[in-house]
Each structure stands twice: as C-alpha cells, then as structure tokens.
C-alpha cells in the first residue's frame, strides 16, 4: 500500500504541491485528476523519487525518503513514452529485468509475455523509432511492467494520442491493469480517462488534494464548487433535498444515492418555484435540507416539457448536440445554462426550447 503523507514540493520557493496526502490500496487504480498546472505530475515525480520533497512517501509503512529512484520498484510511463531510441522493442522491455539480473532466457520469455499482454506479439525486433504513437505507448507500458513493479505510475499516458486511439487504448489499458493486478497511480487531466481506468479518484487543484474517494462518489458529490466545475459541472444552483429527492429551479429528480441529510450550510434556495416544472410536486415543503446542486450539461435535456429558454449557441458533438440556453426570463438569477439535445433534434440559435432535468447529470456539491 502506498501512503503519501503531507508531501510538499517546492520549486524556487513556490510550492507546486502543498501538503498532499493520498493512499492507494494494493491492486487499486487511483487517478490523480487535475487541470494542467495543478501539480499532479510533480506529485507523481515526487512519489517516484525524482523530485525532492518534504513529508513522507511510504510503502507498506516504510518511509522511502532514503530510497533512490532505482530501488523503489515503481514503474513509470511518461506521456511521450521516452523509449530508449538505441534499443529495439525487446531491448526496451528487457531493460528492467536486465537491471534485476534476470537470466536472458527468462527475459526473453517475459518480453514475449508482455508483448502479448499489450497486444504487440512478434514486435521484438522492431526499432522503436518506427513505432506509431499508440504502439510506442504500449511498449512503454510493457517496459514499465516488465520488472513487476510494486507500483505503476502513469503520467498522462494517453494524452499524446489521437482521440480514437486514446479511447481504444484506454479500454486495453483497463484490461492490462486488471490482468497485471498492479497497483497504479494515474495522472491525467482527462476525466474520461480517469473514469475509464480508475477505481478511485483524487482531485488535485493548485497543489492541494481537494477530494479523494470512489470514482462514482466523487463524480456524484464533488467536495466544493471548484472540484465540481473541474468535473464538468457548468451550472451551480441552490436546491433542496428531501428523502432522496432533489429539487431545484429546473425541477426535482430522485437521487437514491444522495446522502440522507446531506446539507450545505449555504442559504436557502434562492428562488424556488419561479417556474412550474414538469414533475412539479413539492408537497413536503419545509422539512428538507438546503443543498448546492451542480448540473452538468446533460443534466438538462431539450424536451417537450420543462423550463423554457432561448437557444444562444449550438455545437454538434459526436453523439449529441450541445446548446447554451438563455433561461433568465424563467429562472431569476441564472442567465445561461449548458444543455444537450438529441442529434435528431433540430435546434438553432434563437429557437425557443424547453429543458427537462435528467438525474444522470446532477451532482450534489459539498
């Protein structure tokens, strides 16, 4: 188990990571998610032993302060692979086992095993300079896994690849990590990557670990508005939670996962009931708790019923249409919101639409 205990990394007197604490259980994949410049790569480098830091990095309780990089047994995959250009594919993958003094025959077997694992069987003698980006990243992963590291550190491993490749490689990577059962820390700014790969999530912002926990828990209940916004929330409203049902100006939905009595101390709902909503029942009234509701774009869908507004902009995505809708006339205090429309829907700027609430896109903040 890896324990990161109040680690601080300072560059030229500016702290890049401040008092960061993390834990990764054996076999678990933790994604360290944060915007660029949040210090996540720095924290990863500190864990690898590549960056001087204060605080403690422990493995199974042993402080690694005096343990140099090459004795930590932590594998590292860089964003751009950093394969050794003077060695072929097998030479790269066999590097770690060679450092461990593995006999050549075993090394060969291990190389073949790993190439098989990453789906590049038979690539042994290829020069690494002739690999495509995706192949190079697979080889880099195989190289890092070859010496059976106790912890695998992935530094934005898919960011250098094109979208389609990224998606398929992410899925492959899930399989590889499951099969290899390697404890993994993944650094990424891409939520999709984090969700695809990780069991747990830690959100790093401005050098601080703002929140960590189960991926779905963090997704549903971001710790604060900053985290929520980084996790895709575009609209933040006041709402009310009653018996697992959340109400906000755009309507109410059942959120069975919502923590009973989850409450933010922030003031009461700003303007409930300003518009009539499709589901409209708000009978139980005052006994609920005030909460902050975060809406991702797909929490609001263009529908037949709902809160009316005027389309301001429209952008087509791969599987939906993204719109911004001016709702200032129907929801006081809110000007525009992000929403989605089905591909079949023809919406144009200036169109009058209605927005319905979808529970999948709703988060409880705080």
């Amino acid at each position: 188990m890896l324990t990161v205990d109040r680690v601080t990394v300072t560059y030229d007197r500016t702290p890049a990571v401040r008092d960061a604490s993390l834990e990764i259980a054996d076999g678990e994949v933790l994604a360290l998610l944060g915007p660029s410049g949040s210090g996540k790569s720095t924290l990863l480098r500190a864990i690898a032993g590549l960056e001087p830091a204060t605080g403690a990095v422990r493995w199974d309780g042993d402080d690694l302060a005096g343990v140099p990089v090459h004795r930590r047994g932590f594998g590292l995959v860089f964003q751009d692979g950093q394969l050794f250009p003077h060695r072929d594919v097998a030479g790269n993958i066999a590097f770690g086992p060679r450092m461990q003094g593995t006999p050549p025959a075993d090394r060969e077997r291990r190389v073949a095993e790993l190439l098989d694992l990453v789906g590049l069987a038979g690539y042994e003698r290829r020069p690494v300079t002739e690999l495509s980006g995706g192949e190079a990243q697979r080889v880099a992963l195989a190289r890092a896994l070859a010496p059976r590291p106790r912890l695998l550190l992935l530094d934005e491993p898919l960011s250098g690849l094109d979208a389609e490749l990224r998606e398929s490689l992410a899925l492959d990577l899930v399989g590889v990590l499951r099969r290899a059962k390697t404890t993994t820390l993944l650094v990424t700014h891409d939520q999709e990557e984090a969700f695809t790969l990780a069991d747990r999530l830690a959100v790093l912002d401005d050098g601080h670990v703002r929140q960590s926990g189960d991926v779905v828990d963090v997704w549903r209940a971001p710790a604060d508005e900053r985290v929520a916004r980084f996790l895709g929330v575009t609209t933040v409203l006041s709402g009310e939670l009653v018996d697992g049902r959340v109400s906000c100006p755009f309507g109410s939905v059942d959120l069975p996962w919502a923590p009973a009595g989850a409450a933010s101390s922030t003031g009461a709902a700003a303007s409930t009931g300003a518009a009539s909503t499709g589901t409209g029942s708000r009978g139980s009234g005052s006994s609920g708790a005030a909460v902050t509701v975060g809406l991702r774009p797909h929490a609001l869908r263009v529908a037949a019923d709902g809160v009316p507004g005027e389309v301001v902009t429209r952008a087509r995505r791969r599987d939906h249409t993204r719109v911004t809708v001016d709702v200032s006339a129907s929801v006081p205090g809110v000007s525009t919101v992000d929403a989605v429309a089905a591909m079949s829907e023809t919406v144009r700027p200036g169109d009058e639409v209605r927005l319905a609430l979808d529970p999948d896109g709703v988060a409880i903040v705080g």
Partner: protein, 547 residues
C-alpha cells in the same frame, strides 16, 4: 511536461550530498591531471621568468600589445573563415544521404592532423609572399574539420521536424534554418568556435612559415625568446599576456555558451539524413567546394613529394626507409610506428580523463546548488586552458618540474603521450559535452525507475546515445596526437622521434634529398591518418545503436 524541464535536478532523495560526493570523485582525476601536467609546469616557467625581473618592462613595451592584438585578430579572422566554411560541410555530414558524405567525413581529418610546419610550407608553395591572408587561410584550413565534425555531430541528432514545423509556419528554408536549427546547433557551434579560436591564437608553425619577419604572434615570439634569445623573463611576460588573453576569450565564450546551451531533443541519427533537394543542393555544392579547396594544399604536398629534379620519382620515399645518407637516427617507418603507438597511448589517456571530466561537468551543470554549478563552469574553463597556452611553455615546463616526481617522468616513455593527451583532452570534452548534455533527462529517469543505478543509467543510456560522439572524439584525438608537434618536439627522446618531429628535422636540414624526404614523410603521415580515420569511422557506424 514543463515540469520535467524545470525539475532537471534529480538529486532528490538520495541522502544529502551523495551526488556532490560523486561529482567530486569524478573530477579528481581530471583535476589532478591538469594540475600536475599543466598548471605546475606552466607556473614554474612563469615564476622562473618573474623572479628574474623584466616582466614589467616587457609589459610596458608597445610591441607586446601589438603582438597580442595581431594574435587575437588573426585568430578571430581564422575562426570566422573556418566557421563559414565548416557549416555547409557539417550539413553535408549530418543531413545528406550521399556516398560522398562518408568520404568527406574521413578526408576532413587529414588537414587537421598535418603538422603545422608542413601546412605552412604547403601554403608558402601556393602563396609565395606569405602575409596575413595566407596565415588566416592556413589556420582555417586546419580547423574546418573541427567545426564540421563538432557541429555535424549534433546536427545529425537533431529532430528535423522542428524545422519542418517552421517551414509549415511560413518560414523559408533559410529562415527555418536561421530561427530553428541554428539556435539548436548553437552549443556545438560555440564549442567548436572556442576551440578553433584557441588553436588559431596559439598557432605556431603556420605563422613561423608564412609570417616571415613581419607577422609574429605571441606564440612564435615566446618560442623565439625561449629557444633562440634565451630571454626567459620576456618569454614569461608574453606567456602571461597569452594566458590572460586566452582566459578572457574562454570567459566570453563560456558566457555565450551558457546562455545558449539548452537540451535539444535528440534522435537516433539514421532517421535524419536524406537526399538533398531543391536549394539544399547549393549547400552541398558549397560544401564540396570547401572540400575541393582543402584538397589544393594537400595535392601540392603529394606532388612535391613525388617530383624530383629530373621529373617524377620516389627518391623521397626511398630516403625514408634508410637511416643512412645522414638522414635520421631511425627510419621513417620506425618513426611512423612510434607515432602510432604514442598517439594510441595519448588517446587512451585523453579519453579517460576527458570523458570523466565531461561526466563531472554534466553532473555539475544539473546540480541544484549554485556552488556546484560554479565549480563546474570553472573546471570547464580550466580544462580548455591547455589549448591556449604555448606548447613551448608547457614542454619547457616539463623539463624544469617533472624530475620532482618519483620515478622521473622525464625519461619515461609515457611523457610524450601525457603531453599529447593534455592537448587532446580539451578536444574530447568539447566534442562529448554537448551531446551528453542533450540526452533527455526523462530517458535517464525512465532507466532509473526500471531499476538502473546512476552508474548503470550512464552506461546504458548516456553512453550508447553519445557513442557516436565518443568515437568521433577518439578518432579526432588520435589524429591530433599523431600530428602534435609543439610539445612533442621538446619532449621526444632523440632515439624515438615521432613522424612530425622527424619531418621537422628533415626540413631544417639543407639539401634537396632532405626536403624530398620531408614531403614524402608528410605524405606518409597523411596516408596513415586517412587510414586510421577510415577504420574508426567504419568501426563506429554499426555500433551507433546497441552497445
């Protein structure tokens, strides 16, 4: 990955100061080498001069400063010529996939290795009046190879896609070169220009032959005063001026280098060469023109070695094989063998010292502490000094000091190799350092996370990536040692002269047969050099990848 660039220091968590200790251990041998074989003899000579008085008087003379000005001026002019001639050749070596490139790489070593006296003679044959232009051209003639091979070595490793990117942003080929490639080449360019400048400012044989009585440099004046006028205080004073000028040049060069030296992403060299297209052909044409120009004096030498009073003949070569006819104490062939052996020893010594120093300098440059960086820069400059100090001073210094060491080094057969190594070490460092510095830190970190100790990282990552430069440096060092004349002429035992010493001996004797034999010996030296260079170049190529 901006962090990676910022976080170059990896001293990290490896117990406090352990890295510093390593750097110091690496630097011990180079520092000791420099101290015993350079600083001590030179200081001894300077003291000899200073204690006799008269230094102040020499410094007060206007003539002294005229000499200094002329020395630096001709060196600067020669450097400019060498750089402009060397750049197209570097392009040819690095980026052009043509058979001729390989031949050019090998051939370039020939001018560089020729004994200065011989080149002086060759240019005098072409330019009977001598003069400043002849001096500058002759100095440049030697040093085109330094620029072309040093710059070409880095160029071959540069990722050409940066230039492609610039082209796609609307830059003309020339603009792309100027704004993208040239800055990336700056470390190698500055390094080689510094070396060339030092070589030219201590150029001896060329100035002696082509300057006549009119043009003298500090080096020839020191020689004159030490050997002929026995004016040691005067020589010491001039040595001081030379030393000061050289230190100044090194400091300026060091500041310029530090500002420009940045890690450039390196690629395996094979992927960067391509057939020339469009205007690149003009550059290749320019490179070949430079090569042709370099051939002229060499051809003149060969022609002279073959022409006798009555037409063509091999009289000169025949004279080489016999020690009779009052020629030499040994045959020309024996002298050639001597040269090969001595140069081999010198190269081994220089590679050990030079590579250790380069590794220490790289480590010091990456260190976080300012003190370590400062120490590195000081060592860097100090290791260049031997290039800039008169070989005459050093050679003479050996005779004065080295008997104090146990086992009297003065009679040891290692003396000449050590002296030659002193000249070769700075070259090795300048050729190896830019490439070692350019190795991507993250590659080394990747090796570290895979379980490689720091020494192992060096052995498995840095060394193979720098292999080409190391081989080039060794080849270069070898041929420089082969042709070294100044210190060797002072130190070689009479019964074991090297080829350049033998040549000088032959030239200084009257009579056509002797001159003939000298030219024949020069040709022999050229052939040996070309053969060695070809062998090393061939050995090296398959080794670029795996180690």
């Amino acid at each position: 990955m901006a962090h990676a660039a910022r976080g170059l220091s990896r001293s990290a968590r490896r117990g406090p100061g352990s890295r510093g200790v390593g750097v110091v251990a690496l630097a011990v041998l180079p520092v000791a080498f420099l101290g015993v074989l350079f600083a001590w003899p030179v200081v001894a000579i300077l003291r000899l001069g200073v204690t006799d008085g008269g230094v102040a008087a020499t410094l007060a003379q206007a003539q002294t400063w005229d000499l200094a000005a002329f020395t630096l001026g001709q060196a600067a002019a020669s450097t400019v010529v060498a750089v402009f001639a060397g750049m197209p050749v570097a392009f040819l070596l690095a980026r052009v996939r043509l058979r001729v490139a390989g031949w050019v790489r090998t051939f370039l070593l020939v001018p560089f290795v020729l004994p200065t006296v011989v080149v002086g003679l060759a240019f005098k044959a072409l330019w009977p009046g001598g003069g400043v232009a002849a001096i500058v051209l002759a100095n440049a003639f030697f040093n085109v190879a330094v620029v072309a091979r040093t710059v070409g070595g880095l160029w071959a490793h540069l990722d050409p896609r940066a230039e492609d990117a610039a082209r796609s942003l609307g830059a003309s080929p020339w603009r792309a070169f100027r704004t993208v490639t040239l800055p990336a080449l700056a470390p190698a360019l500055a390094s080689s220009a510094a070396v060339v400048f030092l070589f030219c400012s201590t150029s001896f044989g060329v100035v002696l032959m082509l300057g006549g009585g009119r043009y003298r440099t500090l080096e020839t004046e020191i020689y004159l005063r030490t050997v002929q006028l026995l004016d040691l205080p005067g020589a010491a004073a001039l040595s001081l001026v030379q030393l000061a000028a050289v230190v100044l040049a090194l400091v300026v060069g060091g500041v310029a280098r530090r500002r420009r030296e940045r890690a450039a992403p390196l690629r395996a060299p094979a992927t960067t060469a391509r057939r020339p297209a469009g205007r690149e052909r003009w550059v290749v044409g320019a490179a070949l023109t430079v090569v042709a120009a370099l051939l002229v004096p060499i051809a003149a030498l060969v022609v002279r070695s073959l022409s006798t009073r009555d037409g063509w003949g091999l009289d000169g070569y025949r004279a080489l094989s016999g020690s009779g006819d009052g020629a030499l104490s040994v045959t020309g062939w024996e002298a050639a063998l001597n040269s090969l052996r001595t140069a081999f020893d010198a190269t081994m010594l220089a590679m050990i010292v030079g590579v250790l120093a380069a590794v220490a300098l790289v480590a010091a440059g990456r260190a976080r502490g300012r003190a370590a960086r400062l120490a590195g820069e000081t060592l860097d400059a100090a290791l260049m000094l031997p290039l800039g100090v008169s070989a005459v001073t050093v050679g003479f210094g050996y005779l004065v000091t080295l008997d104090a060491l146990p086992g009297d080094l003065r009679t040891s057969p290692l003396l000449v190799p050590l002296a030659q190594a002193l000249v070769v070490v700075p070259l090795v460092i300048r050729m190896v350092l830019p490439v070692l510095r350019s190795v991507d830190e993250r590659l080394r970190q990747a090796a570290g996370t895979l379980g490689a100790r720091p020494a192992r990282v060096w052995w498995t990552v840095d060394l193979p990536l720098a292999a080409r430069s190391l081989a080039a440096a060794a080849a270069f060092g070898y041929v420089v040692a082969l042709g070294e004349f100044g210190a060797t002429s002072f130190l070689a035992r009479p019964e074991a002269p090297t080829l350049p010493v033998a040549i000088n001996e032959l030239i200084s004797r009257p009579g056509e047969p002797n001159t003939q034999a000298a030219y024949a010996a020069c040709t022999l030296l050229m052939v040996v050099t070309a053969a060695v260079a070809a062998v090393i170049d061939r050995l090296r190529t398959p080794n670029v990848g795996e180690f």
